[in-house]
Symmetry: C2
DNA sequence: TCTGGCACTCGGAAGCGAAGAGTGCCAGGC
DNA sequence: GCCTGGCACTCTTCGCTTCCGAGTGCCAGA
């Protein structure tokens, strides 16, 4: 177990390194933080911290920088979450309040997060399966062609074209619409499959074909993982990443382009509470020198999707976590209101 | 006027520079292209080209690189559009054919363009005002709350929430829906305002309020410029930009994040045919060292939106133009089919 | 008008040395 | 037993000089 002072030393190293972006030495540490001991003592502590793998030296005659393990300890034990100031909170609320629809909410959230944290922001659209159905609409566009529109309580809208094997009468369609809505409106999407299972039986034999086609499309829409959309922003912040550019930034940009990777990234994060993945803790290789701070957000108490930021492992964790948490909270409120 | 050979020299310089990314000297030129003259002669030609402002020297003892003006001449007079090969065309078609909805078409187009050109791809969603109405749907979500859903012939769907001042009866809503569709279905969005102008008069006095509210929301949706959405991709290709990284890449990333800037960029491009904007020809300062190749695409003969790529001025113009043109053509076909 | 030759310029790479930051270790003090 | 000041040592960084070569411009001759 590390002594109290050694933890203080580690905290000081992390803070200084995050601030200056340069390896920090024993002398500078004692000058900037009054630890009450001499540089020589700090040196001993540093040697111990290095033995334990919390810090490392880039090269022999340089200061120390925290390792992923060091950041992990810092986040878990040494630093809290820095709350947003009142003006900041007001600004967040004002900015988000101006949104006109779900797309706008998400877009604004991305911008906001990117600006607050000066990092890359990632916001997932409220997921279908965890939302509840507000309304299902069926539009007859052509005799054998129906458009299916799903509206969620979070304001998200999904539409899908359905080509029926045989024409579908307007009356039957209205019937289906009515029955469908009376069964599923207000229910969770994940419950829908069970709720509509026996629906075709209520129809005449001739209509069962089209009804089944529509229903199976509906179910498809629900399970389709790739409908998990997300939006990213603030990539220009990547340029503040480090000095060794192309090598660092490239894989990150590539990862950000792969929505699958990002969704997995957010998906892996714990379901409740804030998750911080540091450096190599990220499964995806390209993000090994980045940290991901993410948290769920939702209209009620329950999370319907996640949002977060991607930044260098050398980031201001307390501040970033504070911003992410605050933004998630307000987005949840906005969604609940709409 | 420049002699034929001098134009050849310019063409050779552009080609070599694009290939090697290094200033090209007179000796290398004569070796790689059989111009039939000696380096000394080429040197004279180069001096002339430099006088005219088509090429420049980064520093005294280096080779020449093309200026924006040089690229302009190259694009206008010296190079054609390189057609895609048959296998490439097939690949494009196959890739786009798999799309399930409009979002998917746009997403796939972006990926495709980025991969083909190895540059940043920008694809604008089919614009509302230039499309025609397929269907307008009104859903009653609550007594005084209506959801307006617009469906275009290109498959695009827009929805908007409408809060009515007073409750709106189900029957009246159905009436409005029917009248609205019979008037506007199949018509161009730009004609809609005129077509619905006198619609409120057909209703009872008590319903005119809600009807007007719904209609004005409809019109709002149509004119709202910021509803011009677009998608970008391939930003990882920016890392192949140049050696002087942060400085070059930063403003470009910033520009790409500003949808307004990009829309303006595409908007400025000529309405028909391919447009190439080279370096300083771009109004936006951050893109002064990039070129933008864009072209309109559409389901019929007419362009409903634009797509293009953003890359370094030092790009393979014939190849890029060929790819952009081919992709635009196939996207148009896909939209027409759906 | 083109060509070969030649002197000149200048940027980039390589080599060298001094400076400085930071460390590890040790002996002595509290 | 822990902390401290001192000291020798290690490396990186920076500036300086030198050298090399690519590329040019110009000129005289074919």
């Amino acid at each position: 177990m590390l002594s109290e002072r050694r933890l203080q030393v580690l905290r000081a190293i992390v803070q200084d390194y995050v601030g200056t972006e340069e390896p920090v030495g024993s002398k500078a540490l004692t000058e900037r933080h009054n630890l009450g001991v001499s540089p020589a003592t700090v040196r001993n502590d540093m040697a111990a911290l290095e033995d334990e793998g919390f810090i490392a030296q880039p090269h022999t005659s340089a200061g120390r920088i925290p390792t992923d393990k060091g950041y992990r300890l810092f986040v878990d034990k040494l630093a809290g979450v820095k709350p947003m100031s009142a003006p900041e909170r007001r600004a967040i609320q004002n900015f988000l309040d101006g949104a006109v629809d779900l797309d706008d909410v998400v877009a604004r959230t991305v911008r906001l997060l990117a600006q607050l944290t000066r990092q890359v922001a990632v916001v997932q659209y409220p997921s279908l399966t965890r939302s509840t159905v507000r309304h299902v609409e069926l539009l007859s566009l052509a005799p054998a062609r129906v458009m299916l529109v799903l509206i969620t309580d979070t304001g998200r809208v999904e539409q899908r074209m359905v080509d029926c094997p045989v024409p579908f009468g307007e009356a039957s369609l209205a019937d289906l619409r009515a029955r469908l809505n009376s069964r599923v409106a207000g229910r969770r999407f994940s419950d829908v499959p069970l709720l509509v299972e026996d629906l075709p039986e209520a129809f005449d034999l001739e209509d069962r074909g089209p009804v089944s086609t529509v229903l199976s499309t509906l179910l498809e829409t629900l399970v389709e993982e790739n409908e998990e959309r997300l939006m990213i922003g603030g990539t220009a912040n990547l340029t503040r990443f480090g000095h060794d550019f192309p090598l660092t930034i490239r894989p990150v940009l590539e990862a950000l382009e792969e929505q699958v990777v990002l969704l997995k990234l957010l998906g892996e994060a714990g379901d409740s509470g804030m998750t911080v993945r540091i450096g190599h803790e990220n499964a995806y290789e390209g993000l090994n020198s980045t940290s991901v701070v993410s948290v769920g957000y939702g209209s009620g108490g329950e999370a319907v999707a996640k949002l977060g930021v991607v930044g260098p492992t050398r980031m201001d964790y307390p501040g970033t976590m504070g911003a992410v948490r605050a933004v998630a909270r307000y987005v949840g409120q906005i969604l609940a209101e709409s």
